[in-house]
Every structure is written in C-alpha cells, then in structure tokens.
C-alpha cells in the first residue's frame, strides 16, 4: 500500500522564504567576525567558507526537492497518467527541470567565485566578491519563484491523493454520473463518500477497503463519465479514464435502469460501447441499479435487448475461458441487478465481482512464466493413516479380581464410620488406629513429652542402658578423684567457736563505728551541734564510760572515780574565785589520789578545762613590749583599730575571691575578622 505515498514529501518553500532560510543558515553556521589585521590567507578562507557553505545549502535543499517529487516516467503508468491529467506533465517536468538547472548553475557560480576569491588581495575585495556571489545565487533563485510556487501546490494536492495500490485486488466502478457508484461504495466499504442527488458529486477518485474471503480488497469510486470523445473530456472524467485504463481491476459498469439520472439506457449502453476498449482483459460486470424504481421485468423489450447485448459484450471482453463456455447464456453471469437504496443484491454483486477477479488473476498467474518454476517446487504430502485408531483400555486382571472381591465383602470406610457415629461435625476420626508400632497395645498410650524442664525425646537412645552404665562408672572415678584432690589441697582450717564469736564482735563494732560516724556527719552538715548535756544514749557520761571500759575488758572503777572528782559543778563555791580554796583541799587529797600528784599549776591557774587567755601570757622576748599590761594595751588598741574596718565589712585580701572566669569585655563584640585575639 505505501508504495505510492506522497504524504512524506517535504514542504517546498516560496522563493523569498527559501532565500531567507539559506542565508540565515549561512550566517548562523559560519564564523561572523573577520578582522582587517588578519593574514590575507585567513581572510580569503573566511569568505570562501561563506560562499561554499551557501552553495552547499542551496544544493542540499534543491536536491531534496528533486528527490521528493516522483519522476513521471519512473512511476506506475496509472500514477503517471494521473499526474499528467491533474497537473500537466509538461509543466511538472519543466518546473523540476528548472530547479535542476538552477542547482547546477549555483554550483558552477560558486566554483567561479571561489576561484576568484583565491586571488582577493584585501579584506574589502574578498568581502565584495562574497557579496557578489551570494547576490547572484539569490537572483538565480528569485527567478524560480513561479516553479517553486507551482511545485508547492502540486505537493499539497498530491499529499491528498488517495493511496491507490495498482497491484492489489481492486473493484472499480464506472458509469454515467449519478447512477449510484458512490452509494455502492458506501455500502460495500467503510469509506464515507459524499452522495448527493446531482451529477458530478464525486469529482475525484476515492478509495475504500473491505474484506472478502479473508483477503483485503480495494474499492475505487470514480467520477461519472459522459459519452464524448476523449479530447473533450474534462479533468474529472479523465481521472476515471486513467483508473479504467491502468488498473487491473474488476470493473462494475453501473447502469441506472430507472433512467432517473437523466440518461436513457440506450445512452448508457452507447457510453459502454465507446469506452469498452479500456475493458479488455478485465472481468466486467453490468450492474443494473435502482431496481426498486423500475424492475428488470418491467423494462421494454428494446431495453432488455440492449442490456443483454452489453452483458454479452462484457463477457466477451473480460474473460478468455471460463465464462465463454456457456456463451448462449453467458451474459447472465455478467448481468446483475441491485438497489443501493434498499440494499438489495449489493452483496451478490460484490461477491460475484470478487470471485471473478480472483479467478481472472489466478488464470493470469498460471499463464505467467514463473508459474512453472513455483509448481516444480511444490509437493503436497498426504499422511497415510498408520496409527490404529481404536485402542481399548488395558485393565490388569488382578485389578478386576480385586474389584470383584471388594463387592463381596465391602471394607468400612471412614465415611461409613462417620455416618454410623453421628455424622459430620460429631465424629472425629481416630488417627491412632493407623499407627505402625511394634506392639498394637501401645497405640493408645499417652506419650509424655516434658519432664522436669527437659524434653524426653532428647534422651531417647536405643542403647541407653549401656550408656548409663558407662556414665555411672565414670561418675565413680570422678568422685574418687575429687575426694583425693580435696584431701590433698583443700585442708583449710576452720575458725574455732571462740574466734568466730570474736570476729563477729569485731565486725559488729566496725559497723557501729561506721554508722555512728555517718550519723554524726549528717548531723554536722545540717544542724547545730547538740550539747553534751542532751546526750540521750548516755555514752558521754561516766556510766557510758564504765560500760565501754567493761566491754573492753578493763576495770572502770578508777577511771570513773577520777572523772567524777575532776568535773566542775555549777555552784558558786566551785567557781573560779574559789579555786584558791580548792587548792588547799587538793593538797589534802594528794596523798591517796595518785592523779593529783601531776598538777603543777600555780594558784593563779584556773580550771584545767580552759585554755589560758592571751592577755595573761607574758610578752615574748624581743616583742618590744615591756610587760603584760603594755601587751594587753597593745592588743586592745589593735582590736579597736580593726573594729571600724569590720563594721564597714569591706572586702579584704583575706576574703574568698572568685576571679571572673569569662570576662565580658574580652568575649563580647563583633568579630569582623573571625577572631577576637586583637582585644
């Protein structure tokens, strides 16, 4: 089909557009800057490139056009004639020829100017030469404006031509205008051709396609023909003539027997006879249309005769062999009737035409030279039926016997059991009975799986007794070994009961010390120190001391007594002023209390419980103070000097001081350079 497809042709630009295209392409695709300071060879080369590029672009574009348009002599004669009819072959050839000439002229011109440019001695001259070259090329192409315009129109028309394949099976309708060719076409194919009740509705060829006998068929609708000499025919009619002349198709000559189209049957017959040279060697059918208006029978005898004549002539023209046999009634094969309005007989016409064409083509092929060659190579193999068709099933005798047995004493199936014992949903199948065990009485045993955190299956072993025996032996050996080792190295003496109790005491004591310490520490952190008189557990009085010393295994009596004696009560007679009196008493006691012997203080000395005041101490040697009085005075003066200072509570060097760890003046502010070391 796409053998003749004129839709792919490129657009032919008008002359002005063509010039624009080529020059702008040159401008875009070649360098644009040229300097007078360049070497002359470089300048020459610059302009030569421009000229050459323009020439090449013209050449390519023109070649494209010349190749796109088909040559009238090379294509199928049907198309050749169609082009001639539609576009005038001479004009067509002339336009293409002119383009061809223009192409060669441009080539030659460019060659000349390049040669001239080789001798250009300055930039200016080179530029002028280039200008001249391009200008002449443009002038040449301007002259082709008419040809280009014509070719563009031709191209547009050609791209809309129906794509007729001249070699495929084709049905071709012809006849006077308005006889029903297009109506037939619409009925037979999917094409939608315009049908109107006036002459020359169809003004060009139309192609439709259909399927018959699983083959693809082409149906061509032609414009109507009038009975006049070939020279007088117009372009529309000429298209029909071209199709009739060149396509090897089945021809349906459609006759309007109702004469509604405005032409009598005789006139239509005359047309048939005048164009019948075109029908030679083609199957031709005379199709009588519009039998819904006028039936075949109601026709006059004269008309009937005319039709018969036409049919006979058609049979004679078209078919060489098959249909000539029954020459007496042969015309009946070629004379058919239908009505496109009621769609009656249309399919019969189509089928007859197709059959005849097929037969005709086969005959033509058999007459051809290649037929013999093909026939030699063909062999049709017919398989002989060697396989035995009836193969009865083979059932072994044992199987048939078993089946017979089963029928006698039928086994109970699970389904039977289910039905017996309450049916589906109640009955639960017994799987235990199918167990394969050594002893059938074991079938319903409950198998323990777990014992004391172990899987029983993990211990299963066929010769477990032997292994147990071995294990027992091993165990005895290991035990003996262990005992030996223990006797040898394990003799660590135990502590005696006394030691143990002592150890416990020590541990308890340690624990108590630690606990006491912790308690004291916690108290010291949070609260004031509890005065000794509030000591509730009594650990700090004499009875506490007694208990503690007793526990340590010492005799506390002396220590307690001494402590009692030395302690100072609150009464006035035991105050500081009474110390001199007490001294006398002490002297009396000295004899039986050994601790009193140690006391060597003067009468001035006060209780041992107090430290001596600074004011009572004699000034050190070298201090520059004469005696205690002076020293005390000095102390007082120092105190007084400090008093004001203390009241002000000024910060001094003895105060705790935390220096500023992150001085603000060193760490804040903008850092333009990314660091602040400059501060």
């Amino acid at each position: 089909m796409p053998l003749y497809n004129f839709k792919q042709m490129h657009v032919v630009p008008s002359a002005a557009a063509f010039i624009d295209i080529v020059l702008s392409r040159t401008q875009r695709q070649t360098p644009t800057v040229c300097r007078s300071g360049w070497k002359i060879s470089r300048v020459r080369q610059f302009y030569m490139r421009k000229v050459k590029h323009t020439q090449q672009t013209w050449h390519e574009a023109l070649t494209q056009i010349l190749e796109d348009f088909p040559r009238v002599d090379d294509i199928h004669p049907f198309y050749g004639d169609l082009l001639n009819v539609l576009y005038d072959k001479d004009h067509y050839k002339l336009a293409l020829g002119q383009l061809n000439v223009a192409r060669s002229l441009i080539d030659k011109l460019a060659q000349d100017y390049i040669r001239l440019l080789k001798y250009g001695d300055s930039l200016y001259r080179c530029k002028c030469l280039k200008r001249a070259a391009l200008g002449r090329m443009v002038t040449l192409m301007k002259r082709q404006a008419a040809s280009l315009k014509y070719l563009e129109q031709v191209r547009q028309h050609m791209s809309r031509l129906p794509s007729v394949d001249p070699n495929v099976r084709t049905l071709l309708m012809c006849g006077y205008p308005n006889v029903g060719k297009s109506s037939f076409m619409n009925l037979v194919t999917r094409a939608d051709v315009e049908v109107e009740p006036y002459a020359f509705t169809t003004k060009s060829l139309y192609v439709g396609h259909m399927d018959y006998r699983y083959l693809r068929w082409q149906v061509i609708d032609t414009p109507g023909l009038l009975d006049r000499p070939l020279e007088d025919r117009n372009t529309i009619e000429m298209q029909s003539i071209t199709a009739l002349a060149h396509l090897r198709a089945a021809i349906l000559y459609i006759v309007d027997i109702s004469e509604e189209c405005g032409y009598s049957i005789a006139q239509q017959a005359a047309l048939f006879h005048s164009i019948k040279p075109l029908f030679v060697n083609k199957p031709v059918l005379i199709v009588c249309n519009k039998i819904d208006v006028t039936s075949m029978e109601s026709l006059g005898e004269k008309d009937q005769k005319i039709l018969t004549e036409m049919a006979k002539e058609a049979g004679r023209l078209g078919l060489s062999g098959a249909f000539l046999e029954h020459s007496a009634d042969g015309y009946k094969g070629s004379l058919l009737s239908m009505t496109t309005l009621k769609e009656d007989g249309v399919m019969a016409v189509r089928n007859t035409a197709c059959d005849q064409l097929l037969e005709h083509r086969v005959e033509a092929k058999m007459k051809g030279k290649r037929f013999g060659d093909v026939l030699n190579r063909i062999r049709v193999a017919m398989p002989n039926s060697g396989i035995n068709p009836d193969r009865p099933p083979v059932i072994p005798s044992s199987v048939t016997q078993a089946q017979a047995m089963d029928e006698d004493n039928q086994k109970k199936t699970e389904k039977d059991l289910q039905e017996e014992r309450g049916g589906a949903g109640v009955y639960s199948a017994d799987f235990h009975k199918h167990y394969l065990l050594e002893n059938d009485s074991w079938k319903y045993d409950i198998m323990p799986e777990i014992w004391d955190g172990h899987n029983i299956i993990d211990f299963v072993d066929a010769d477990i007794d032997a292994k147990l025996e071995e294990l027992q032996q091993e165990e005895e050996e290991l035990l003996a070994k262990f005992e030996r080792q223990r006797a040898q190295f394990g003799g660590i003496p135990e502590l005696t009961a006394e030691e143990r109790s002592l150890l416990e005491d020590i541990r308890a004591r340690k624990a108590k010390i630690i606990a006491d310490h912790r308690r004291a520490k916690a108290v010291a952190d949070n609260r004031g120190v509890i005065p000794k008189k509030h000591n509730t557990d009594g650990s700090l009085n004499t009875s506490g001391m007694r208990r503690s010393l007793e526990r340590m295994g010492m005799d506390p009596s002396l220590a307690v007594e001494r402590a009692r004696r030395q302690s100072r009560g609150r009464s006035a007679d035991r105050s500081r002023n009474a110390s001199s009196r007490a001294a006398g008493a002490e002297d009396e006691e000295m004899e039986d209390v050994p601790e009193a012997m140690k006391r060597v203080h003067s009468t001035k000395s006060r209780s041992m419980s107090r430290g001596r005041s600074l004011s009572l101490m004699a000034p050190k040697k070298g201090s520059g103070l004469k005696d205690v009085a002076i020293k005390n005075k000095a102390l007082k003066m120092a105190d007084r000097a400090q008093r004001r200072m203390n009241k002000l509570a000024r910060r001094g060097e003895a105060d705790r001081h935390i220096p500023c760890l992150r001085p603000k003046h060193l760490l804040t502010g903008t850092r333009g350079i990314g660091k602040n070391q400059r501060r």
Partner: protein, 168 residues
C-alpha cells in the same frame, strides 16, 4: 510440643512463653522474655553479658563440657514410639540429671576453693589487727599472762615444782 532454649540467655522456654523471631533467611530466634528480645534488638553479644549462660560457660563459671550433656541431644530424626524404650529413657533421664547436678556441685566447690582460702586468711588477719576494737591491749596482755601461767602449771608436774624450790 517441646521446651526450647532462649537464643540469648539459654534458659528454658515453656510452651506459650516468650517470643519467636524469624529472620528473612529463615533463621529462627527464640527469646524467653522481653529482656532477651530487647537485648537482641540492641545487637548485644550474649557472650559479653554476665547474666547469660553463654558468658558463664565461656568464663568458666559453670560446667560446660560433660558426658551428661552429650546424652541429652536434640535429634532431627523422628523416633517411632516404643513403650519399653520410653520407660528406660525416663529412668535414664533421672539418673543423668542427678549425676549432672552432683557434677555441677563439685565443679562449684572446686571453683570456690581459692576464694575460701582468701576469706579465711582475711578473717585471721582481721582477728589480729582489729582486736583492739573489742579488747583493750591491757586486758589482752592480762589474758595472755593468765594463759601462759595455766600452760606452765599444766606442763610441769607438781613434783618438779618442789624440786626446783629445793634447788633455789
């Protein structure tokens, strides 16, 4: 139904307990509790966690290799039921577990030998060093002298004492 071992801590998982994770390479990981599962998800190594069986065995804290373990072994071959064999197995199981228990005890005993020695030593030391907390040095000295005296009295017969007096 069988008792499985936890992948992480190797404890026994009873039916209906724990969680099972099947990785997309079809490896099965069973966990006894969420603790083990969580630790697995944290990609912890059970050999490095002190509370797992794997650690204890690796670190020599527990009996790791023994014949009794070899006698309890998972078999992937199904066994056909045999009542006699099962009875023998049940008896054997008891014997095996008993022996294993004993061996574990002995293992522990041996392992603790050194520690016991250390404890004893420290106790002795404490008795010597910290005695002052419960007994004053003076009373100790007194006790000692008394002891010595008693010893002497016990050691020398009465007669000899008289002889010595005579000699003086």
């Amino acid at each position: 139904m069988r008792l499985e071992k936890c992948w992480f801590c190797s404890s026994t998982i009873y039916p209906g307990h724990g969680i099972t994770f099947v990785r997309n390479d079809a490896t099965i990981f069973r966990f006894c509790r969420s603790k083990c599962h969580a630790n697995f998800k944290l990609k912890r190594n059970p050999r490095k966690l002190r509370w797992t069986k794997a650690y204890r065995k690796l670190a020599g804290k527990e009996l790791a290799q023994d014949t009794t373990f070899e006698l309890e072994r998972k078999r992937n071959r199904p066994e056909r039921y045999n009542r006699e064999l099962l009875c023998a197995t049940m008896k054997g199981m008891k014997a095996i577990t008993e022996i294993r228990k004993k061996r574990q005890d002995r293992f522990y005993d041996t392992r603790m030998q050194k520690a016991r020695k250390q404890t004893r030593e420290s106790e002795k030391k404490s008795l010597l060093k910290d005695i002052h907390l419960v007994k004053a040095p003076e009373s100790l000295l007194k006790d000692k002298q008394q002891d010595l005296l008693l010893e002497k009295v016990a050691a020398e017969p009465v007669a000899t004492v008289e002889q010595m007096d005579v000699q003086e």
